[in-house]
């Protein structure tokens, strides 16, 4: 099976969900015209990143009666979508979230489980921590979603792998930092290195998209990528500008790679679990 993948790297209007929704619908139309099956937006694509005290006012629920999601759910009848938003639960906790929408339904919502609260980041101050890392089934196979800092830690991608995800969908609002004499920013090099490594180690498709634009002095660098189960780069979006990057994923590559390199077959999960138990009991 083949998937026509589209990676959106968008700029946002900070706190203006209506304007950002309009951009989503425009990108969805473009991707539809290109016959995309799955379009992925960056972290917090409906709201902007540096929300601070705006968090409560931009929260939405990924349901049909929500004034924003009703449009996105309707659009998901034509192609599958991943969108970034602020999710509010029934007890009014606010999460950085990604929703996978398909056939007019919300198939899965991931709440960011690692909220960076150090250096230039202050997410833990404004958001609740997600507490689940789960793979989910789609019409293209089993997938998993992670948001930015989630994949700076090795355990969430590892858990998704063991939970059956063959496609990992990562989205970021990654501020550019670490300019030196190298071709790329340190932050971009780090992300590209680890996403490529995950694809290689987990013999899976690893897809990443990252927003662009500026918020105050922060600059987001874009550079969406898709890696195949051999860790080979299939697509690479431009840096620092809005774009949709298209790539066709040949899912049969999973079989070919894993026939050659049975890392998944040989993964000793019981060993991991027992050693982890021991370490945690120390």
């Amino acid at each position: 099976m083949k998937i026509n993948l589209a990676l959106a790297q968008t700029n946002t209007k900070l706190g203006d969900v209506e304007a950002n929704l309009a951009k989503h619908l425009d990108y969805i139309q473009q991707a539809k015209n290109e016959k995309a099956d799955l379009l992925i937006f960056p972290e917090l694509s409906l709201t902007g990143y540096g929300l601070q005290d705006l968090v409560a006012s931009v929260a939405h629920k990924p349901t049909e009666d929500d004034p924003v999601f009703k449009h996105l759910l309707n659009a998901s009848k034509d192609l599958d979508l991943v969108v970034g938003f602020v999710d509010e639960d029934s007890r009014h906790r606010f999460f950085i979230a990604s929703a996978y929408l398909s056939g007019g339904k919300t198939l899965h919502v991931h709440h960011k489980v690692y909220l960076p609260t150090y250096g230039l980041f202050d997410e833990g101050r404004f958001f609740a921590w997600g507490d689940k890392v789960r793979a989910f089934d789609t019409r293209f196979g089993r997938m998993g979603m992670l948001i930015c800092e989630d994949f700076w830690h090795a355990s969430p991608p590892y858990l998704l792998w063991l939970d059956g995800a063959d496609l990992m969908l990562f989205s970021s609002a990654s501020p550019g930092r670490g300019l030196n004499d190298k071709e790329k920013l340190e932050s971009a090099r780090w992300v590209e290195r680890v996403t490529k490594a995950y694809a290689s180690m987990f013999t899976s498709f690893v897809i990443h998209t990252n927003r662009v634009g500026y918020e105050d002095g922060l600059h987001f660098w874009g550079g969406a990528t898709a890696f195949d189960p051999n860790g080979e780069e299939l697509a690479h979006g431009p840096y620092n500008e809005e774009a949709i990057t298209y790539s066709q994923l040949d899912l049969n590559q999973l079989r070919r790679t894993r026939a050659r390199l049975p890392l998944l077959r040989d993964e000793r999960t019981n060993l991991t679990a027992s050693e982890l138990q021991r370490i945690l009991q120390k």
Partner: protein, 275 residues
């Protein structure tokens, strides 16, 4: 001495800073910028970046000489104005500042310098309204960390593209952007009085202090580790003291908290809110 490499990728720096100026000016409904051109390197680079971001016709270069300013300053600013093809104005500040100087026969050079820097701010912000352009800052990371500026004077701006680049890196980027050689090669100076140069006044060179600041700030070295890396202990101590002493210049004045929700503490929005 540990090898310290402050080299930056100039193309990437240029792309990020040009994008920054374009984004931060246009998102609030402006399309133009105003820059005070001193004839020195920082303002020349800011101006060149602004031209790339907004187009030459949208950047107003303002020269603001004082009677005793170095004649080279005006000429060097003119070199850049000619090279970039930007509209320009020359507004002499002598008659604005001297009445104030005359009120106190004992007035020091430092006070005069501060008055001139603030007068230039007044002129720039007035041109900002007249030209409908935002004032682009010219302060670099070295001088911000060392507190080598006049509050509400040369440090005042609507946005600052250069504040995360050390002077050494400003020089490198300026070279890549073809800033005229006489501006690149002269000694940095605030030109507030005759023969003033930054390095004479600070007591060390930018090349030295930039390397030390890079270790202390960017690489999070402790003062002791910086000494062990080869910097003179007294120099490290003096620089640390300056960084700490001038923290106030890098901040908004603190507001005394009384209510449940106070600007700066728990009323938190980015400046780009809604844009």
């Amino acid at each position: 001495m540990t090898a310290i490499n402050l080299t930056i990728n100039p193309e990437l720096a240029r792309e990020i800073l040009v994008g920054f100026i374009k984004s931060e000016v246009t998102r609030v409904g402006f399309s133009k910028a105003v820059i005070g051109l001193s004839g020195g390197l920082d303002s020349a680079l800011s101006c060149a970046l602004a031209v790339e971001a907004l187009g030459k016709e949208n950047v107003l270069a303002v020269r603001m000489p004082y009677r005793a300013s170095n004649k080279n300053s005006l000429e060097h600013a003119q070199l850049l104005i000619d090279q970039l093809g930007v509209p320009s104005k020359t507004i002499e500040i002598t008659e604005m500042v001297e009445p104030l100087f005359k009120l106190d026969a004992e007035i020091s050079n430092l006070r005069k310098g501060n008055i001139m820097a603030r007068e230039r701010m007044i002129v720039l912000y007035d041109q900002s309204e007249a030209f409908k352009g935002l004032v682009i800052g010219t302060s670099n990371k070295t001088e911000i960390l060392l507190g080598y500026s006049t509050m509400y004077g040369d440090s005042a701006s609507a946005l600052n593209p250069l504040g995360d680049l050390y002077k050494t890196q400003i020089r490198q980027l300026s070279r890549a952007m073809n800033i005229p050689t006489p501006i690149l090669e002269k000694a940095p100076s605030a030109d507030l009085w005759a023969d003033q140069t930054d390095e004479k006044e600070l007591g060390f060179t930018y090349a030295e202090v930039d390397q030390l600041l890079y270790l202390l700030v960017d690489q999070r070295y402790s003062p002791q580790e910086a000494s062990e890396a080869g910097f003179d202990e007294k120099f490290v101590h003096a620089v640390m003291k300056r960084i700490q002493r001038f923290q106030y210049k890098r901040m908004q004045p603190p507001i005394a908290k009384i209510s449940n929700r106070t600007i700066g503490y728990d009323f938190l929005y980015l400046r780009d809110w809604g844009t």
